[in-house]
């Protein structure tokens, strides 16, 4: 276990360093000289040169990289060139929106996906399985932003069951906040639910064929008990893995979901920054998503090794 943890931590550290290098180099590829942008069109060459010096742009790239990493570690992400607000402040106000939305979407996806997966396994070859499989195929094939548009049109505007847009902070009124996030979370969760359903079904079918399940059945354990005790536990491993793997897709999905439902989240911050060429914000957003992704995956892997003893014993990385 310890050996596994050390290897995994080491790998994450290397990935983090490489990712920060990619961001650092990427930012330097952005068009426009930051010193020129700060100094303004009319500035004299001397003034521009002074700002270059002040920003450390004349330092060797190597030194610049360490300054960059140092600033990030100290939580100094710079200021938005558009509004002058500290980037950390922008992130502090927008990130919770996205985190709540994503957590809610994962919850919806896991519940729907696992339940449909169990139904598909339990009723193999009969109509409930066909319906569950059909739903999964639709979830995989239909773009969720289109579903979102349709949901707003029919569920929110025509039927009035849900608010079409707007955000309530979890701290202000939790129930209303959940109510406002329900439709976006369902929309964001659809494709994840489809993937989870398919994998749960496959893993259940595999588990049900194993010898220990046959033994359990032979001992007279009811089908439902077997399903919960063995099938579910094994599919849990699968679910955790998928959520980790699909995190990137979930982040991309969250951006577009926020756009459709006009939620003031991280995705909106990202898009606004891209369209106004607000480089410090773009850099911070990319960095936070990447670091977050790496850290969450590390957490998922550790969690995974806790529920799946095979990994711990082997001590291997796979």
């Amino acid at each position: 276990m310890t050996r596994y943890l050390i290897t995994r931590l080491w790998q994450s550290a290397v990935t983090l360093i490489l990712a920060s290098l990619v961001v650092f180099i990427g930012v330097r590829q952005l068009p426009g000289d930051p010193a020129l942008a700060m100094a303004g069109e009319e500035a004299t060459p001397e003034r521009v040169e002074a700002i270059r010096e002040q920003l450390g742009l004349n330092e060797p790239l190597f030194t610049q990289y360490f300054t960059f990493v140092g600033n990030m570690l100290r939580g100094d992400l710079g200021e938005s060139t558009r509004t002058g607000t500290a980037v950390t402040e922008l992130i502090a106000t927008t990130l919770p929106v996205t985190l709540w939305l994503s957590a809610y979407a994962i919850l919806v996806a896991v519940v729907v996906g696992v339940v449909l997966g169990i139904i598909a396994e339990r009723f193999r070859g009969r109509w409930p399985e066909w319906i569950a499989n059909g739903l999964a195929l639709i979830g995989l094939s239909v773009p969720n932003f289109w579903l979102g548009i349709l949901a707003i049109l029919y569920l929110a505007v025509t039927l009035g069951w849900f608010p079409a847009s707007g955000y309530v902070r979890m701290g202000d009124d939790p129930l209303d906040a959940i109510y406002h996030l329900t439709l976006p979370a369902i929309i964001l969760g659809t494709s994840l639910a489809a993937v989870i359903m398919r994998q749960t079904r496959a893993s259940m079918i595999e588990t049900m064929k194993t010898d220990y399940v046959r033994t359990a059945k032979a001992k007279g354990l009811g089908r439902g008990r077997v399903l919960v005790r063995y099938g579910l536990r094994n599919s849990l491993i699968v679910v955790v893995t998928i959520v980790g793997l699909q995190l990137g897709g979930l982040i991309s999905g969250a951006v577009v979901t926020e756009r459709i439902f006009a939620l003031p989240g991280f995705g909106k911050l990202t898009l606004d920054a891209v369209f106004t060429r607000d480089y410090p914000v773009i850099q911070a957003v990319v960095l936070i998503i990447t670091v977050g992704y790496i850290l969450i995956n590390l957490a998922v892997d550790i969690l995974y090794s806790v529920i799946n003893p095979r990994i711990r014993v082997g001590g291997s990385t796979r």
Partner: protein, 301 residues
């Protein structure tokens, strides 16, 4: 059990692999349905310039918001009087282009890296770290970066989507390589002193091909939905070019006035992706020898 297994092995060796795959594909009604959907969609996309009654960006201020079925407007027209059917088939064309480009990118980068990582253990560590780094950048973030650097475009969208799919491609090919490397014929080649590269390209790659093809059918719908998403957000193809994502983003502006304008592009994306998913599933079953012949099902453990 052993008898049926050897028998099945012998017969499948006698019948050519392609014939077996084709027979299995034909037996799958869902796969066939997917194939038919794809054939229609590809024909529409490829022949778009010949079929389309108008130009894709041809504006007619005299005829905005025509209902579907109006003479001359099969699927109605949008806010600028552009024919939705015309834009739809041009949009399908763009979707297929981006899809093919990103699949090509994922296959061309992912396959060699996967082969190398699977065959040589010392390369595995390096390539795994590269995969991890790439995975840490969701395709939307790669697209955000690329459009910040060189502006949003079809090529950038395809590159972002392709790069994002490279890690999964590497994993699939690597897994296949690890499996094939242990087979007897590779061992035989190794004892005959064949070079590593020769074994990889002459023995492993041909046997990994079916897994690569199946993975390509998985990537395709993901890339097509991704393109629509990027264009919807304004990070992909730029108006007035017709893209299914742009059509949806336009349609959202006047959705209460003309909901049908938002229906057709979405259905088109769904049909393309459903086609690829159904066809890909059937192809996977057909190419996977453990699931093809019903007579062998029992011999599976």
């Amino acid at each position: 059990m052993t008898d049926t297994r050897t028998l099945a092995l012998v017969t499948s060796d006698l019948g050519s692999g392609r014939g077996r795959v084709w027979r299995s594909l034909r037996r799958s009604p869902l796969g066939l349905a997917g194939g038919v959907m794809l054939a229609i969609v590809v024909l529409l996309g490829v022949l778009a310039p010949l079929i389309a009654p108008y130009g894709p960006a041809e504006v007619n201020f005299g005829a905005p918001f025509q209902q579907p079925g109006t003479v001359g407007y099969l699927m109605g027209s949008d806010d600028l009087g552009r024919d939705i059917f015309t834009r739809l088939i041009y949009g399908i064309r763009v979707s297929l282009q981006v899809g093919l480009l990103s699949v090509a990118l994922a296959v061309l980068i992912g396959t060699p890296l996967g082969l190398l990582a699977g065959y040589w253990k010392w390369l595995d560590g390096i390539i795994s770290r590269l995969t991890d780094v790439t995975l840490a950048f969701p395709f939307l973030i790669i697209a955000v970066g690329l459009s910040a650097i060189s502006g949003p475009s079809l090529t950038n969208a395809a590159i972002a989507l392709g790069i994002a799919q490279v890690p999964t491609m590497i994993r699939v090919v690597r897994g296949e390589t690890l499996r094939i490397r242990e087979t007897d014929f590779v061992l035989a080649a190794q004892t005959m002193n064949a070079s590593g590269l020769r074994i990889i390209f002459m023995h492993i790659l041909p046997n990994a091909a079916s897994a690569i093809i199946v993975q390509a059918t998985v990537i395709m719908p993901v890339a097509i939905i991704g393109e629509a998403l990027l264009s919807f957000l304004g990070l992909g193809i730029q108006p007035p070019t017709a893209s299914l994502g742009i059509m949806l983003s336009d349609a959202q502006q006047y959705i209460s006035r003309s909901p049908t304008a938002a229906i057709f592009p979405g259905v088109a994306i769904a049909v393309i992706c459903l086609g690829f998913n159904l066809f890909g599933d059937a192809l996977r079953d057909a190419l996977d020898p453990t699931t093809t012949a019903p007579s062998r099902k029992k011999s599976k453990k």
